[in-house]
Amino acid sequence: MAEIKKLVLGRKVVEDLDEDQELPHELMTVNMGPSHPAMHGTVRIVLTVDGERVVESDVQPGFLHRCFEKESEYATYTQIFPYTDRLNYISPMINNVGYAMAVEKLLGLTDAVPVRAQYIRVIVSEISRITDHLTCVGASAMELGAFTPFLYFLKAREWLFELLEELSGARLTYSYVRIGGVVSDLTPDFNQRLTDLLDKIDGVMLEVEGLLNNNRIFRDRMEGVGPFSAAEALSFGLTGPCLRACGVDYDVRKDNPYLVYDRLEFDVPVGTAGDCFDRYLVRLEEMRQSIRMLRQAMRDIPAGPVIVDDPRVALPPKKEAYNTIEAMIRHFKHIVDGIRVPPGEAYAWCEGGNGELGFFVVADGTGRPWKCYCRSPSLINTQTVSKTIQGHLISDVVPIFGMINMIGGECDK
């Protein structure tokens, strides 16, 4: 292909063409999204294509911007939990936990959170990680034409959503975590139900792996597509399964253990080529590891309170709130004025579904954060798309974008 020297709105200068060897052809600009089935959430990729091949691309997120960070400055510390639910909306529990950890760091409560609450947080986080990966893998397979794995995986995801719904009262927007713990204890038969479900999900995963791993079409479209070297990935700030697929074994749960992750046994899977197939395999293995962690956590979880016993941050029990003026005032002020967080700033980070999910909170002594920044892995991972799809076919954009697993709510904040 002749070297392209000048691009003017997708048109190539005719003099640059080597007419003897190639038919005259010109570049074309194609909008992929924002309303496109493969553009999860809403993102637009302006592709400059030479025939089927992507010459240049401009990834434009932001269609789902909800002013998360600005809104947070006008909400009390507790009122921000529902906003975090809507960041990565297929693994909201991890967002809840990450945000709570940042505020607890400011309050100096990190170690005061009851052990049972820490276990519960790990359990709900790992369940959320499974739902996240189930969605990502299932949807990507569907976009490549494999509809069955999608149905199987979404069915499995639904079982977990139902379990979390039973726990928190909402199918998707849980707002289950609180500063200093979680809002309520596990339901009585949670342990049993989760154990049963994990066995079933193991089976579903085997089935889907059987359908996909040696599927010719699937492998042709995933293998060698969108490879990324470890150095490149690090320079982009890539984290999560996509980074591990490049061969870097960075996992926050291992490298900066938080909650009770240091008490659990698990492995961090890594890939070699960093292509889409590796990303797929890493995700599958991570689900296995999550299941392993869940089994250990359900075995080890101790009895005890689920929220810190500190009147500064925890609401009083309902019975007291309704019957004594002291607890009533405490309840009232917590709701209306918010938890008083001493001035300071803190960054807390955890392993989200797609990478390192961090919250940077600056407090000024009032009931609301002065600033609440979210390091959303989706936004940072999406930066790499433009680079990865360069030179690939249009049809390769779909698996590459699918495997980045950009979640609009988190990317656009």
Binding site: T324, I325, I329
Partner: protein, 539 residues
């Protein structure tokens, strides 16, 4: 023989004292109490009965602090700062004492927050939240008292909630100058009460609600209407009379729910009168929401075009027969824009000033003024040395048939029935007003203007202080600020009046009006409405 130099040899008493509070030194004027000195350092000592605008009684014992050299804890509201005094507010002894006082205060306090009007702005809630947050240790029933005591035309008392700080008694005594409230009974049966048969009916009665640290006293006007923490607050100036008390507009959903005084030692201190508080009801009474021509709704361009044609025809016919009525109910900027249009663009000079008539019986030496227009002084300043004719002269001129066209700002124009009929028969009667009352109802062309709570602008009170109004919300319907209507009317009549923002009007006015020179800073910063629950933190 006395030495004539003796008096000069006596060292003059120092005007300030320096004391140490929590290890920090602070210098305050002599006579300051410790609680105010601490406030200067940013240390808030909790208090119920102490109010900076009232006398000190030290009955609540909530502000106890340790003063070195004193055998017992001292109430910081009553302890006067002396040179070299060393005060501790955060040590275990005084903190513990204050916490115990708070627990004691809560013993008989009902569990009322969900139904209490004060919830969200309650001192008791705030102090408990900051101090203690400990659970109740009470295991005996609370003392019950009457929950609904009608104290007077504006106030209801809930005796259970009362913590007996006596602020309300002192407000009546010291602000209104009428001793209408008193304590009755003893111990935990003590209650606030009026004398049998008497009412709490002084014109400053609702100030008792503002100073009440809990929800014991509630205003009938506001009670059970809106939760305090949901309200937005915007600083403004009371439009009730020439005093111009500084107020906060508390509003939500494009509607004012109450007005409360804003501290300004130059004008109103901490207080305002009840009548002023009720002025907001007019914001929702007979408002004009669309321009009208001969009583029928019209588009802005039609109405302005029609009004401009009427005025232009009258000016062309005879300049001296065109009257302009200024309004002491409108801002300086509105009047300035109108003066500029009339004088410089149209060259007419028959000026009158409208507004409500005086109410001499309302005047007292406290806050209330006989002139119930907020901006008469401003109109006079804006129009310079003109001797302004009032509504009476206008009535006479109408009767003599000297006036053929009239442009009126504001619907408050106290014309008698006969002059009003004559005005209504004019071919050109253009009225810019927020309400469809009085002369506005009789106008050929009526142009709806924004009312005082909806505009940015300034008013000048009786002392000559230029005070700023901030818009709390948008005007209803198609109403526009009056200065903008005047600008557009001028443009429709072919005049080069080109204000784009009210700030331009103000700046021009300050530059040209002698009395306002050097007052440019009075415009101040633009303020947006902030939620009341955040008003004390950072907006």
């Amino acid at each position: 023989m006395s030495d004539p130099n003796q008096t000069t040899q006596t060292p003059a008493a120092p005007a300030t004292v320096t004391l140490t509070i929590d290890g920090k030194q602070v210098t305050v004027p002599k006579g300051t109490n410790v609680i105010e000195a601490a406030k200067k350092l940013g240390i808030e000592v909790s208090a119920f009965c102490y109010h900076p605008g009232l006398s000190v009684v030290a009955v609540c014992r909530q502000c106890l602090v340790k003063v070195e050299g004193q055998p017992k804890l001292q109430p910081s509201c009553q302890a006067i700062a002396t040179d070299g005094m060393v005060v501790h507010t955060a040590d275990d002894w005084s903190r513990g004492a204050r916490r115990q006082m708070l627990e004691f205060t809560l013993v008989n306090h009902p569990v009322d927050c969900p139904i209490c009007d004060k919830a969200g702005e309650c001192t008791l809630q705030q102090l408990y939240f900051e101090h203690d947050n400990e659970a109740s240790r009470l295991d005996v029933p609370k003392v019950r008292k009457p929950k609904v005591v009608d104290l007077g035309p504006h106030i209801v008392l809930d005796a259970e909630r009362c913590i007996l700080c006596t602020r309300c008694i002192r407000v009546c005594d010291e602000v209104a100058g009428q001793h209408q409230l008193e304590m009755k009974n003893r111990g935990d049966h003590e209650e606030i009460a009026t004398a049998p048969g008497a009412e709490l009916d002084n014109p400053y009665a609702i100030n008792t609600v503002d100073v009440c640290p809990v929800g014991a006293l509630t205003a009938k006007d506001f009670r059970f209407t809106m939760r305090a923490w949901e309200l937005m607050t915007t600083p403004s100036v009371c439009p009730g009379c020439a005093t111009g008390c500084n107020i906060e507009i508390h509003h939500k959903n494009e509607r004012v729910w109450r007005l409360v005084p804003r501290h300004n030692p130059e004008v109103n201190g901490h207080w305002m009168c009840d009548e002023g508080r009720f002025t907001y009801h007019r914001l929702r009474t007979r408002r004009m929401v669309a321009p009208t021509i001969n009583g029928l709704p019209a588009r802005w361009d039609e109405a302005l075009g029609h009004a401009a044609r009427l005025m232009a025809a009258a000016i062309q016919h005879n300049r001296d027969s065109v009257g302009i009525v200024f309004s002491p109910q409108h801002t300086n900027e509105d009047n300035w824009a109108l003066a500029r249009l009339a004088r410089e663009m149209w060259g007419v000079g028959r000026f009158y000033v409208g507004g409500k008539g005086p109410v001499p019986e309302r005047a007292d030496k406290i806050l209330r003024d006989a002139d119930i227009n907020p901006n008469r002084r401003g109109v006079k300043q804006v129009l310079g040395d003109l001797t302004l004719a009032g509504a009476q002269v206008l009535g006479e001129d109408l009767a003599q048939g000297e006036i053929k066209a009239l442009l009126v700002l504001g619907h408050d124009l106290e014309l008698g029935p006969e002059p009003m009929e004559r005005a209504a028969m004019l071919d050109a009667l253009v009225v810019i007003a927020d309400s469809e009352a009085g002369i506005a109802a009789r106008a050929r062309v009526a142009l709806p203007s924004a009312a005082w709570a909806e505009v940015a602008g300034t008013m000048t009170n009786r002392q000559g202080l230029v005070q700023r109004l901030h818009p709390a919300f948008a005007p209803p319907g198609q109403a526009l600020p009056a200065w903008e209507i005047i600008t557009r009317l001028g443009q429709a009549a072919g005049s080069a009046l080109g204000y784009g923002h009210v700030r331009q009007v103000f700046d021009e006015m300050v530059g040209k009006v002698g009395e306002l020179q050097g007052q440019a800073a009075r415009w101040g910063r633009e303020t947006r409405p902030i939620q009341l629950r955040f008003a004390n933190s950072r907006g």
